[in-house]
Every structure is written in C-alpha cells, then in structure tokens.
C-alpha cells in the first residue's frame, strides 16, 4: 500500500531548458541489411540503404523508412514499437536487440549499421524467422500456475516478499533475444534455451504454485539447464533486463537441492 504523500506545491520554478528539447539533430547512416527473399534468390546477401535519420529515431524507424520509401519487399515483424511486445528481436551490429528500443544515436553511425535475423532459428524471409520451435520449448515447461487443493473463494494471499522472489522473471516478453544469442542453442537447436527456463523459473518460485517439482524434472533433461555453459549472452541480450543467467543458476540449484 502506498503511503500518503504531502501535496506537491502548486507552483515551482522550472530549471531552464527542462524536458530536453531543442533542435533534433539529423545525420546520415548506412543501414546494411541481411536480405533473404526465398522466392527470388537461394542465398542471403547484404544490401546497403542510405538514409537520413533524426536523433530520436530507432533502428525500427530506419527499417520502416526503407520499407516505406525505398524497398517495400523488406520484411520484418513489429507491433508495439516501444519494447513491450517482443516482435522485433534482431541482430544489430552483431548483437541481439529490439529494433524499436535501439536508438540510432547510440550506435556508431559513421560505420554501416548491420541488421540481420536472430541466429539459430529457421530463416523465413529477411529478418523473419520461424518462431515455432521457440514457443514449443516454452510450452513444454508447463508455463501456467498449477495449484492443488481447494480454490479459495477470494484471492490467494501472497506476501510482498514472496512476490518479489520471482518478480524479475515475470517481465519476459518472449522475444527470443536470449535463446537466439545462446551459443549452445545455435549448435543443434535441441537445448530448451534460456527463455523457457526463465518462464519455468517464474512458476517454480511462485509460492502459489505446486508443480515446481514437475518443471524441475523437465529441466533436468539432457537438453535442460545442464546444457547452459554460463556464457551470459542471454543476460546481455535481454531487452527487459532480466537476470537470465541468475535465474538459470537458481533453477540448477533447485534441482540439485531436490535430489541431494
């Protein structure tokens, strides 16, 4: 419950120039996109686009500009445009990012900005990959609350501390930036992958859930948590700032604790 705050003053003096603003600088960039048009060519190739962009533009804006003004065949997924839907994970300058959350001004605009599809999932077209294997792994860890016993008539109680334990992993938007940055996942695609483990973690550590054991058993598989080699690519790629490797470590500990 939030505490009662004193009324803020009716009038304050604003600092000069408050709220940013001023002229938005513009600059030229080269966007180097890895194209793949399965109906036209057998292989992927790089294509450069020259664009004039503004200081507040994101990589997604640059892609839109290409699609809307230069080449309508350029294909990519996107929806919310502010980093909450998970549609547009891609490899930007060699690292997994959300295009809508990566500001151009934060990249080195003197060099071409490379954009390519995320790695390790079947490529469909340009920046679009087949997400089904990814979601399949997610579905396999039973990502839903399972509780035994009587349903309470009102809500189940949960202390704020218990709620806090799994807070981090509830933030996942299933963008696949983590799983497709994992060197182990790239190898044969059999590894459950960090995203599935993150979502298992979300339930394993939820005090209201009773099926943690089953999920631990699933992840104790040869393709489960033990394949993680703690390379931290996932943690660094996660656009929601989830401590993915930490969550994986906690799941490993939980499996150990339950057997030993």
């Amino acid at each position: 419950m939030s505490t009662e705050l004193p009324e803020p003053p009716s009038k304050i003096d604003l600092k000069p120039g408050v709220g940013g603003g001023g002229e938005i600088p513009s600059f030229d960039i080269t966007l180097r996109v890895r194209r793949y048009l399965p109906e036209a060519t057998a292989d992927a190739y790089w294509e450069d686009f020259k664009l004039t962009m503004y200081g507040t533009d994101r990589v997604l804006d640059a892609l839109h500009k290409v699609k809307w003004e230069q080449d309508g065949t350029l294909s990519f997924r996107r929806s919310c445009a502010h980093g909450v839907c998970g549609s547009d994970a891609m490899r930007i300058n060699g690292r997994n990012r959300l295009a809508c959350k990566t500001l151009l001004k934060d990249l080195d605009t003197t060099k071409p900005i490379t954009v390519e599809a995320i790695k390790g999932l079947p490529l469909e077209k340009d920046l679009i990959v087949d997400m089904e294997p990814f979601f399949q792994s997610y579905r396999e860890i039973m990502p839903f609350l399972i509780s035994k016993g009587h349903e309470p008539t009102k809500e189940r109680y949960q202390s704020a501390e218990d709620r806090e334990i799994f807070d981090d992993t509830t933030k996942c938007i299933l963008c696949a930036a983590c799983t497709s940055s994992c060197p182990v996942f790239w190898t044969d695609g059999q590894y459950f992958g960090p995203a599935a483990i993150v979502n298992a973690h979300r339930f394993i550590f939820d005090s209201r859930d009773d099926a943690g054991d089953m999920r631990l058993e699933i992840l104790n598989d040869k393709e489960g948590v033990w394949r993680c080699r703690t390379t931290f690519n996932c943690t660094e790629a996660c656009p929601r700032g989830i401590q993915v490797t930490k969550a994986i470590a906690e799941v490993k500990q939980a499996i150990l604790a339950r057997t030993v």
């Binding site: 992927a44 490529l123 931290f232 943690t235 660094e236 500990q253």
Partner: protein, 126 residues
C-alpha cells in the same frame, strides 16, 4: 538449417569469449593429457626410451609448447574456479565480469612467474 541463416559472427561479451577460451583450452589440455600418459607409460617399458622422450621435452621448442600448455591450464583452472563461483555463489552471476578480470590478472601474474622460471631453465641449459 539452411546456410542462408549465417551472417556475421555474434559479438558476444566477455562471458562468451571466456567460454570459447575455456572450451579451447579444455580440449587442448585433454589432447595433451592423452599424449602425456602415453609418454609417461614408457617408464614401464624402458628407462632409456623414457629419457629419450623426455629429453625432447627439454628442447627449447618443446619448452615453448610446454609454456603454452601451462598457460592454457592456468587459464582453464582459474576460469573454471570462476565458473564454479558463478554456479554456487549467490552473487556470482552479478560479479561474473569482475571475476573474469580477476582471473585474467591472476593468470598473467602466475603465468609470468612460471614462464620466467621455466624458460630460464629450459634455455639456460646446464
């Protein structure tokens, strides 16, 4: 998967490169270990033969190789300890990067100590 999906190399951070290093050093050490057990087994066959083989280790070129091997073992060992901390220490994942720098510093110091002593023996001769 089709070859079309390959593109640039993934630009991982420290964590990924340390893993590459750990993996490569692990394999190198393993291969060396196979050979090392075989050559040591010569002590069971013939003392002269063993000495002959060992003397090849004492040539400057082998000494350099030996130094490289020790470098690999030192890195693998220190980084291995870091990985163990990442896995078992609560704050491990938070400080993994700092620990990697620690590993590298320790590695440089210990390796320098070793290299000076070892190479001076190997090249210094009797």
């Amino acid at each position: 998967m089709s070859k079309t999906s390959s593109g640039t190399l993934y630009r991982g951070h420290e964590g990924m490169w340390s893993w590459v290093g750990h993996r490569v050093t692990g394999v190198v050490i393993f291969l060396y270990l196979l050979v090392h057990v075989l050559d040591t087994a010569m002590v069971r066959v013939d003392a002269g033969a063993y000495d002959a083989i060992i003397s090849t280790y004492q040539t400057p070129w082998m000494a350099l190789g030996e130094t490289g091997l020790v470098a690999a073992i030192l890195f693998h060992a220190f980084n291995g300890l870091r990985l163990i901390l990442v896995d078992f220490w609560k704050q491990g994942t938070k400080y993994q990067r700092q620990m990697l720098w620690g590993v590298l510093i320790l590695w440089v110091i210990v390796f320098a100590g070793f290299a000076i002593r070892h190479l001076s023996i190997a090249f210094g001769g009797h």
